[in-house]
């Protein structure tokens, strides 16, 4: 520890303002604060401060993503070998997936953090931990076959135009991870949809369509020629974006987030509620297979669970008022299923619904704040 501190201390003078390597100050600072909580003390206000900071809070989200990540790695390998008709053991499937997924994670972090550091340097801020989470979310919501250069371009677009132009973490309107996904979807649709993108190095004869794509085509939620049972949907061994398929892994993440209080249970619950309500409405007026899908099975398929736990709950792009969170989550879930079922071109709606609600969150907050103001005015009138 002393040894690392000594190295950091010996580098420090060279990156200070006016020194030769000042351009690397933010990078130094990010490393320094990663290894050591800085020695800054309180100056004004409360003399003592809570033991938890942004780093720890963000780190909890990364931990919560680990089950989905590990499952996604295994599933990548499993799908690949299954399409070839080979039986392999868990470790082989996992190793194959690891080698496929790890490069995406590395590219995502390298590009995103690189841009963050440059902007932090320009602004004279510390590097914010926001991309800590985004950088892990992005690999989990793309198809495994996404070319790395596409990931790099999309991450750069999302971080610069989705976040940094607004002022960085805490100021952004839309979730950078979702924006990355949306950019990929609209810029390179052929790599983001269809039957061939979800399974790495798939055998041509094997149908790699996601269950949702089968539903859009008017079939039951099929995979490998058989109907997926609810239990199989829970486990998640079917094609999809890397981290989205296993509802069980996502539930473990949700438990971590809710237990630590990092994510808002109000948003999560109301998102699920909104999805169920829309699903039930479709069930009532069902005219095709997609509308007939039981409402609760919607929650197990596609990106709904992942969106409910990790995406809609992003505190920066969600509504900031407690009342607003109920409204925000509910409509998010409602629209997700609406788009999913009604949109003929694209079998999934979670991404678009969350983007849409991100943009509406300030408006919802505006009305909640207005009602607080009105209450106060009314109180003044009653007293007068």
């Amino acid at each position: 520890m002393k040894f690392i501190r000594n190295i950091l201390d010996s580098v420090k003078p060279h990156v200070q303002k006016g020194a030769k390597f000042h351009a690397f100050n933010s990078m130094y600072d990010a490393a320094d604060t990663l290894f050591f909580v800085p020695n800054t003390v309180t100056k004004t206000g409360s003399h003592i401060r809570d033991g938890v900071d942004m780093k720890r809070s963000m780190f909890v989200v990364v931990i919560a993503l680990v089950p989905a990540l590990l499952f996604g790695m295994w599933n990548t390998g499993q799908m690949h070998f299954q399409s070839l008709g080979q039986e392999v053991d868990i470790m082989d499937a996992f190793l194959y997936g690891l080698l496929k997924v790890l490069p995406i994670i590395i590219v995502s972090y390298a590009v995103g953090l690189g841009i963050e550091i440059v902007f932090a340097q320009g602004r004279g801020h510390e590097v914010n931990e926001g991309f800590f989470v985004s950088g892990m979310l992005i690999p989990l919501i793309v198809p495994v076959s996404t070319p790395l250069w596409m990931v790099a371009v999309a991450v750069a677009f999302a971080v610069i135009f989705g976040k940094e132009v607004f002022g960085g973490t805490g100021m952004n309107i839309v979730n950078p991870a979702i924006l990355t996904r949306a950019f990929l979807f609209f810029a390179y649709p052929q790599s983001m949809s269809g039957d061939s993108v979800w399974i790495a190095e798939k055998a041509d004869a094997f149908s790699g369509a996601t269950p949702l794509a089968e539903l859009t085509a008017g079939n039951a939620p099929l995979f490998a020629g058989a109907n997926l049972s609810p239990m199989e949907m829970m486990i998640g061994a079917y094609p999809g974006s890397i981290g989205e398929t296993s509802t069980i892994a996502i539930i473990i993440g949700a438990a971590i987030l809710l237990y630590t209080g990092v994510a808002s249970w109000k948003v999560m619950l109301s998102f699920i509620g909104g999805g169920l309500v829309m699903g039930l409405i479709f069930n009532l007026f069902a005219v095709n297979a997609y509308m007939e899908l039981p409402a609760w099975e919607h929650l197990l398929l596609g990106g709904f669970a992942f969106g409910a736990v990790f995406m809609i709950t992003d505190p920066v792009t969600a509504t900031q008022t407690e009342m607003g969170k109920w409204i925000y989550g509910f409509f998010g879930g409602l629209i997700a299923i609406l788009v999913r079922v009604v949109n003929p071109a694209y079998p999934e709606g979670v991404m678009l619904a969350i983007l849409f609600m991100n943009i509406f969150a300030p408006l919802i907050d505006f009305y909640v704040v207005e009602s607080n103001i009105k209450k106060r005015l009314k109180r003044a009138k009653v007293a007068a």
Binding site: M1, R5, T33, F35, F36, V37, P38, N39, T40, V41, T42, K43, T44, G45, S46, H47, I48, R49, D50, G51, V52, D53, M54, K55, R56, S57, F59, E126, N128, E129, G130, G167, G168, T169, G170, M171, Y259, T260, G261, V262, S264, K266, P315, V316, A318, Q320, T321, E322, K325, D365, V369, N372, I373, K375, R376, L377, R379, A380, A383, A384
Partner: protein
Amino acid sequence: MSKQIKIKKGLDLKLVGTAEKSSKSLNLKNYALKPTDFHGLFPKLMVRVGDKVKAGSPIFFDKYRDNIIFTSPVSGTITDVIRGAKRKMLEIRIESDGTDSYETFKQADPKSLKKEEIIEELLKSGVWPLIRQRPYTVIANPVDQPKAIFISGFDTAPLAADIDFILEGKEKEFQTGLDALSMISDSNIHLNLGPDSKAPALLNAKGVEINNFSGPHPAGNVGIQIHHISPINKGDIVWTVNAADVLTIGRLFLEGKYNAEKMIALCGSEVKEPQYITVKSGVEIGSIVKDQLKQDHVRIISGNVFTGTRIDRSGYLSYYSKEITVIPEGDVYEFFGWLVPSPKKHSFYRTAFSWLMPNKSYKPNTNMNGGERAFVFTGALEQVFPMDILPIQLMKAIMAEDIDLMEQLGIYELDEEDFALCEYISTSKIDMQELIRKGLDMMRIEMS
């Protein structure tokens, strides 16, 4: 009509170093009046270095409200006037001559006096500044008619001085002080008691409305109590007095002199024998703590850990403080401190593990425990902020200097201290009390 109010939101923080319920009197030599203890004050000096003063002799007054004067807590000599940048007056130092000679004021039962006479005595003796007003938390204006006077009879802050202990055996002074206060305004006095309040002075107080509060900190903050009983709307004025300061007001009329004695708690993890001491207002802290420190690298705070003022070892007790708290400084690097779960650190959040031990007493230092960030996580501040006010939205309005929005979101009801707990738990490490004060100052300039 008395009210029972249960505060649900908040956080009780237990720290090491609670003051023992034993008290000793200290007669010390050096005192100072600090104009910086009073928000929005422009001091005009009335004495020169070398002048002899008695306890109760005028020292300076407020340039914009010249009837508000500040008087010496002891008899002695003016030894120094310390000024800071732009000649801002920081301290007027007084050396006690040990004789305790007093200026004389009217000695009478306040009930037998007229309102104007009481106000006159309070102003002349320099006791008036003990009465403050909301909004803005500045010294009350004697010509105002407040809609209520609030006195908090308990303090929930960490290591706070126990008001029951301070008031023990002082029923007469307390009641006389209350009588004086009830004479100077036509409105109600709300005396708010905690669940454990037991001092006879509080329980048997006459001529006041007694309300019972319970719940975690900040239930003892007078601002929270006002919010739940008689919230401040635009144009309203509420006066507040510390319960311990009511004694000073009472003694003025009982003894006919400005007796600046007060009992304070000497507390905190770095104090050898945490205890209560009786001193005079504005006493030099160095001579109190010099044999009491466990180590040298400490922060001395006049007041409590949330809202107090940082004081040098050669500094002086602040005017409204009821405690001297000493905690370790935290200017150390901590290896992976953000990641390693340390049982020594307290946290409001479940991402650390201190919630598993709710009864543990902590020894926090002054480290920020992280770097400053933008507001990211939402919903936490609301859990420790028992007011129907949107804290983040209000702070953003202040940052944007949007006066209208600040007013609409209820800034009149607030004081910095009401945000202290939010500031403590903030993962963004934003200095919120400073921000709220900035907003209040902006508002006050706008409204004047």
